[in-house]
């Protein structure tokens, strides 16, 4: 489905994840964060930028991997995105939901 967010038309899947990363802008990310009830701080953006880079490098994301990233530890990751951090953060980042069990 398509939606207009912050003046941009973006494509989303049925779970609300963007299907075309080239449509992502920081404004779109901000709006998606508001919908997820996340108040974005510079720390949040650092994590989002890291996730986007991992996605571009085609790295499979997992909680374990994020804990070893050196960007954020697992405890802080849960503090930044309290409910379902990996799902919430990837949604804001405009990248697919990771198919990870760990």
């Amino acid at each position: 489905m398509e939606r207009t967010i912050a003046g941009n038309t973006i494509s989303l899947n049925e779970e609300g994840y963007m299907t075309n990363f080239s449509q992502w802008t920081e404004e779109v990310g901000k709006e998606l964060a508001t919908e997820a009830e996340i108040n974005m701080t510079p720390r949040h953006w650092e994590v989002i930028k890291y996730l986007q880079k991992e996605h571009q490098d085609q790295v499979a994301l997992s909680i374990r991997r994020i804990g070893k990233s050196g960007v954020v530890d697992i405890k802080e990751f849960y503090q930044l995105f309290p409910l379902a951090p990996l799902k919430t953060a990837t949604k804001i980042a405009g990248i697919p939901k990771p198919a990870s069990c760990i």
């Binding site: 909680i63 804990g67 530890d73 697992i74 405890k75 849960y78 409910l83 951090p85 069990c101």
Partner: protein
Amino acid sequence: MKQDSESIQKMMIILSKGTLENVYAAFVLANGARMEGINADVFFTFFGLEAIHKKKLEHLHVATVGNPAMHIPTMIGGLPGMEALATSMMKKEMEKIDMPDILEFLEILTASGVKLWACKLAMDMFHYKKEDLYEGVEDIITVGDFYNKSQGPGTHILFI
């Protein structure tokens, strides 16, 4: 996550076994719950205590006897060294799929907000003390305490 009365709010996982595959099952389920925004506690009882016993948690094995799915004949599975061999093979496979070892998994769980509890009765039976346990364990509690912590809508109790 939905916050309505029908959604799962909390998983109370009881781990009663100390074989590697059962410990991993409990840990993956607890961690997976947190990843979905669901609270999770693990209550370690009987042989499950081995998974939080500092001197034992790095020496857990898969069972090669009495497990038909291993496809090792029982007589062979019982030979000296077979458990260690099967365990080392399984650990190699787990590393390939990004599965952490037990100690690292405990660290991931506590960092993710999973609460770890040790069963008082089993602690007494095995003569274990609090200082024998992994530091991230919250406390040693009774089964009554466990049920008290399980109260509230959307709580599910799972026995492994």
